[in-house]
Amino acid sequence: MVLSLAFATAHAQPAPVSKEPVSKKPVSKKPPASAKPGAKPKPVKKPELFPKRVTGWQAVKAAQLPAIKTFASDYLRYLADAKTPRRAVGGLVKLFKGSARQLKSTKRLDHAPGARYWFRHPGGDAAAFVTVGKRPIEEGARIIIAAVDAPRIDLKQRPVYSKVGLTMLDTRLYGRLDLKSWLSRPLALYMYAKRRGRDLDLSVGDRATDPVLVIPDLLPHLSRKIQKKAIVDKPERMDALAARSRKALLTYLRGKGVSETVFRTAEASLVPAGKPSFIGVDRAMVAGYGHSQRALAFAAVRGLIDAPKTKTPHHTAIVLVISKSQVGYTGSTGLAFVKTAMSRIIGVMASRGDKTDLLGVRRIYSKSAALIAANRRGTPNKGLVLNPRVDDALPGALRRVLNAFRAAGAQYQIISSSGWGSKARTLSTMDMDAVDVGLPITGRGTPMELLSTLDLHQARRALATWLMSK
């Protein structure tokens, strides 16, 4: 009875944000004028309705620059090896597992506040990272969900064919690609297969001595007619040049243990070859493959890792890294993983009564709040992007997020461009307060997306504070 009462009041009251600590250094307010003896008491200044806002790099102090650069360097190091969803998740696990233990059984955890644990989907391309909060899970969790898959070019099951003296690999597109920008540039082949029960993890093209694959473009001399309307008129034009002789290709693959049967069962894809890089003489931007959500996933997991031991999150903080965002979040490691992971977390953390009681489980959901990474347009250097027009978040849910961001001193931008595919709406149907959040990224769907190191820095602060928030 008592519990269901609490359930009712939680809904009746607005989100508890009022006790949020304000930013350490208020930006807009001036210190009160020192009262000189004998001077007239100054009239009380009304709060400025439109205080002058200092945004972007203007608001950054020189002392902050090294931290921004260091974090960006860490991120680039992570991104260099995160070319596939499997590796992107693997990279985060590697970062996290130093200070956490792997959840192996479904037995109830003896969870002390501040303890960290993680588990990974058997498919490898989704994982959950958890820091246990001060309050029991029955009071809800703070969740961040981010997908780590990116547009790529998959190989078909029987990809090898020969034409005009060359051996080609037949491809199939995954996700929304800006096709023309994938032409005539070095690509790497990543392959994962299970062979006689063992992992076969192969990558060719990212080491300097490796060969690369190329999807050749047409020369301008002969393109005037056929590429007039669109550079790439159909996806069949996206096959990759893999060798001169078919034999050379098959010999190489066989040497690596990849027979034609293995090829058929493998996850094989072409991704841009080469490392991500700082951009500009000031190194203020970074360009790399698959920024869109990997940046948020990285920032969120680092938010958990970097929290000082003394600072235990109020609620249990959860980062769920998923995949399949490029194909509508379907599949077991798409949005479905949110449900399975939450069930598992609730199963090991909730008290016996609650986890068996459907109402108990639902209550945990309804008291939880989530941010989900989304692809959003926005202006670089202006911080995280929120778009209430698309995710249609309730003002209360949005306010809770914004106050966490403000508490972090992180900049954010609210846009209202039209769009579809808000996954926050889907999460809301699970009775969770959910808001979409994105990074302003240029060149989405191209092999090399552009991101500001300042935005990355803002994301890190904003997400870390969100995970700790009440």
Binding site: R185, V212, P220, L222, M238, V281, A287, G443
Partner: protein
Amino acid sequence: MPWAVLGGVPAMTTEYRDWLDRGRTTSRVIDLIKKKSKRFRVVDVHDITAQRVRPGDRLLFINRDRTVIAVVVGKQPLVKAGARLIGAHIDTPSPQIALSRLRKKKQTTLRTYRYGGTRWHHYSHMPLALVGRVARADGREIDVELGLNDDFALYIAKTGPRLIVSVSSTPSAKWPGVSPRTLVAELHKRYGLTPVDLEAAELFLVPKHKAREVGFGGELIGAHGQDDRANSYAAWRAVVDLTDTPRATAMAWLVDREEEGSSHAAGAQSRFLEMVYAWLIRAQNKPATEANVARAFARSVALSADTPAAMNPNWLQVHEEKNAPVLGNGPALFPHTGRGGKKGGSQAHAELIASVVDSFKRTKAPLQFGELGKVDEGGGGTIAKYLAERGMDVVDVGVAVISMHSPMEISAKIDIWSAYLGFREWFKQ
């Protein structure tokens, strides 16, 4: 034994990849040639003091650091036997930086325009580096590079009629103790350049990636700039490796500005070739009259070595499959170029075609015939017509590439090797 000289395909590949990686601009290629053409004497074509050349003498004529003629003097005087000349170009298409914005204090972005047949979509969303040459206010010229060997790159985000390249995004000089980081500030730090110095410069954006092996089996090379640093490499190496003195004088003329129509002081339309002919005729103790130069030209034969398009499997319908070159079947000989009814192209005489075919056959190097695309699908030109204009017989022959004019042009090693062997043999005839 040609292997004794260049040491076979693997050794050639190493040298060729280095040539592509270091020769990012025309003047850098000239630097490489100066360094690597051992036993060659650099000669100033304007130096008309009593100089004599003997058969077997090896000379380099360089004009404006942009074009070079490598010469091995033949047994027969130039006026009598003419020369065997291979013309190729060492410039390559890429975006070029508009100088207009370099004088501004705030440079978050720069504008670019196209040098040659550059395609907008190839250079966007890719790590780029800046390379080029600056004529400083004091008149000295220096080569500059930015990003090629640094931990940062430049990036083109917006395409369209003008490419906008991001160079910096932090407000300059905002932070005390932190020096402003703009393009010009960076160039000043490295090379002492000022905005005034940068008023006269050619700055190109090139892909940061180096030449790579393409595909399995190690038979293909992918790199920016192979049009036409592939044939210019083969032609230059063929001259350098001539062990015996040829009958007719052997020349490799590597020109600049081919991608912009060759009308340039360092292009194939310049009279530099006439100057070199006149210099050589005088040095062989003959009067350097206009008539003698014309006679020498009329007795010369030339190959215009430029990259044709090999068939691209993804776009087969633009090619004529029976007659288009196949990557890896040897350099392609084009009996005719031009568009439509061969307009604006050159049509080679059968005698010259036969001599080229013979040379390749004798050295057992593969050679194929080809043409550029289907009739009326498009077309392109080479420097052949500018050589022919001088009265030389000329034919187009060169290493074919796929993805021409892109950041990753693909060639076959065997084709470059074969061009080298064939060119060398042809010089000897």
